[in-house]
Symmetry: C2
């Protein structure tokens, strides 16, 4: 099977500089975690929805059809943009579809192309005293389209919700090349099935998101940040519960950092720890458009110190100190990457089960691999733990660690299931977790999902073989 003619036909749709093949395509087809490397037939960089529509029609018309894999910032962690063997594919990189089309300050909405990076949108909003609240470590590269396709979360979900909650409308190119214009700018619109939710979180398997309408919020003008230390995870959860009840909508982030994660960042990036060593840490942020009651926050922390729930607490006295606290949180993944390949578990649990889950899982891992040192952190206010394992402790090198990946996954996911958690809180399923899906979904749910895939993509050309095995 050759695709020479097909590649030639791409030139009818795209200018030469929009088509990358062979060596020029290489930078696009290795994923963030260096797990997937197969080359597509070509990488194309469209400038318009119309080009994407024509491309998909062309791909659908081949015999056999050519697969279309949409790619945003290529920052995904589960191989969502991986090219598969024996599956001739076009990698549709959306980075050139990158205009902020409209900002409506009174309606508090932004309409943007899918290839706009999250950081570019943040920057575009600065003159308006408005924010788009999604915040991710990878936001310089990650795009709005990728954020939507994976229903991205990040550190501000507690206050503002995930990407799904922040989207009002979409434009999507469907598997037959037709375009669905669902660019709704309304806060309320109950006119039949809400199709945008079918595409959000579908990881490009049902259509290609090309444009979106997003909710904006008044920029918080006041912010306070604290780093706290506890003797155990239960105390971290008690602190969350107290602060959440008291400060509710002012609580914009509650990030858990285990001692392993904390120490790893300080060692790898040569940071002097801002608090004495402790078993568990959390980063707490309050923000508001109104002045904050810093006294009330200090009193709340003092009370928690007094009753021994907290062991230590430091409040940032300025933006710079606040940025230092956040830097520790944001460098965890990079610190892990410095140690080489690692095993990530992006899991979520009912908040009321986190402590029991961690105790059970640590014990089982410790029994199987004495001296194992999981590097755990996450958005504990959303019940979302990044339950990761790097080399160190039981594993002298990354190769030795990765050889045990299936066994370590099995232990972690067994307890995730037992405590009614999720095997993917915010990273999605992609290719990496695809074969786990039947172990966590009922037959009824898998059947409904397969039927939706069949309906929206009968030729199976939209990012095929991802999510569903």
């Amino acid at each position: 099977m050759t695709h020479t003619l097909f590649i030639t036909q791409l030139a009818d749709i795209f200018a030469a500089h929009q088509i990358k093949t062979n060596d020029a395509a290489r930078p696009y087809h290795t994923d963030e975690r260096n797990r997937y490397h197969l080359a597509p037939l070509a990488v194309v960089l469209p400038h318009s929805t119309a080009q994407i529509s024509r491309l998909i029609k062309l791909c659908a018309a081949q015999n056999p059809p050519v697969a279309v894999i949409a790619q945003g910032g290529n920052t995904g962690l589960v191989g969502g943009c991986a090219v598969l063997p024996d599956c001739p594919s076009i990698l549709l990189n959306l980075s050139q579809l990158n205009r902020v089309i409209e900002i409506d300050p009174l309606n508090q909405t932004a309409t943007v192309d899918a290839g706009v990076t999250l950081q570019a949108l943040h920057d575009a909003l600065k003159p308006y005293q408005l924010i788009f609240p999604l915040t991710l470590a990878s936001q310089n590269a990650a795009t709005i389209g990728g954020n939507l396709a994976t229903n991205a979360g990040g550190t501000q979900v507690l206050r503002y919700g995930s990407m799904r909650d922040l989207c009002l409308g979409l434009e999507v190119v469907l598997a037959d090349g037709s375009v669905w214009d669902g660019l709704n700018t309304l806060r309320k619109n109950n006119t039949g099935y809400d199709l945008k939710h079918v595409f959000i979180g579908a990881e490009g398997t049902l259509g290609v998101i090309t444009r979106a309408v997003l909710k904006l919020f008044p920029a918080p003008l006041h912010r306070v940040c604290a780093l706290v230390a506890c003797n155990d995870l239960k105390s971290i959860l008690d602190t969350f519960s107290t602060i959440k009840s008291k400060f509710d909508q002012q609580l914009t982030a509650f990030e858990y950092i285990s001692a392993n994660a904390f120490d790893l960042v300080c060692t790898q990036f040569d940071i002097t720890p801002p608090l004495e060593a402790a078993p568990e840490y959390a980063l707490i942020e309050l923000a508001s458009s109104l002045p904050l009651d810093n006294g009330a926050f200090e009193t709340a922390l003092d009370t928690l110190l007094h009753v021994n729930v907290l062991q230590n607490a430091a409040i940032a006295h300025n933006e710079q100190q606040s940025a230092q606290f956040w830097r520790i949180r944001e460098l965890i993944s990079a610190a892990q990457k410095k140690l080489g390949k690692n095993i990530k578990h992006d899991i979520s649990l009912p908040i009321s089960s986190i402590n029991a889950f961690c105790n059970a899982t640590y014990a089982a891992l410790q029994q199987a691999y004495p001296m194992i040192e999981p590097t755990v952190f996450g958005h504990i206010g959303d019940g979302n733990l990044h339950f990761n394992v790097s080399r160190g402790g039981a594993f002298a090198d990354a190769d030795g660690l990765m050889a045990c990946e299936p066994q370590i996954n099995a232990i972690v996911y067994r307890f995730v299931a037992q405590f009614h958690g999720s095997i993917s809180a915010e990273h999605g399923i992609g290719l990496l977790k695809r074969d786990l899906l039947p172990t966590v979904k009922s037959d009824v749910e898998l059947r409904l999902m397969r039927d939706i895939k069949q309906q929206f993509d009968p030729q199976n050309i939209m990012n095929p073989h991802k999510i569903l095995p």
Copy 2:
């Protein structure tokens, strides 16, 4: 075609007191607005998901199959539960499926049966200092299942979102009688297509929602409420924009009340107006778990008075006064009902287009029907107007008014389309607006909706002929 055998077979599933026919069925089959009256074959009141599953299997096995119309509190305004001629139907009233199953204070979730009324859930939460924020005038009767099926909105959407935003998980009985257990209690769970969003807002046309997991929030302990008056709608919108920017997440309601609506309530319910007569009013509520800065609120209103954006403002000094202000807002629909049948338009617009829309629509209506007096009110912070017309002004009686309904609808919906609004912000489509749907949706969108309906309900037995013509 007779259904005698079918009715007999119902007794295999339900106890005698759970089956209502003939006169006993009558209270269930007239809708809130007294527009639809046809009788179903029977009304059944199941106690369990298993009974609903068996019922649907029985209905699907008939030749021809029997339709299943789920009914909550029967408070819908668009004939969503109407029985259709030539369509033998079972009315599945969920009022007996009404247990609050679990409240998890740390996870801040409640798991409830679909037939629990919104008020019953509010009451059940009182001991926990938690709230479920959805608030509707009809909440004594309206059920969680109905709220989900119609993606209900209400007065707190500004701060907490619509029903869709407040739901984490669902249990649904599908059209073949199988049960989808999607009772997710997690804040983040990105494991494939998010099926709950297919059923939420689908008005019972894709399956019967039997149970749900809902998000809870800390009860706001502090609240302040103001009634303000303006000379024009633009000033109302300017007030909204100022208050929203300044108080952001503390702003829990911003309700617009036109002079017609305000006066109608005061006249019909013999209320002394709490403010001097003005052309436009709004009810503003701030709430928080922390003490509010009432001084900042008063200063903000004073500034708006000073620059003549506001003409008048009254701040409630206690819960009783606050309740008086809210009573005016909540009695509008009841005051209209006292005048007899009326024409409702539950529309939404980009907030930045509300003023231009209202000016254009008033002018066109005035030209067609001199002296017409629309009774407009709504959740202006969500862009949601209840653009209603009662008798009075151009119409001496309700019959004369209702005779002009198609023409009045045509004028209003023409401008809704022109200003990129929605013909149903929060009430849904049901039967009443079904035939309008093709005028407001693209062929691509209608095709996707029809395909979803076909996939989930191939026999067309789940509330057939609603939403889609």
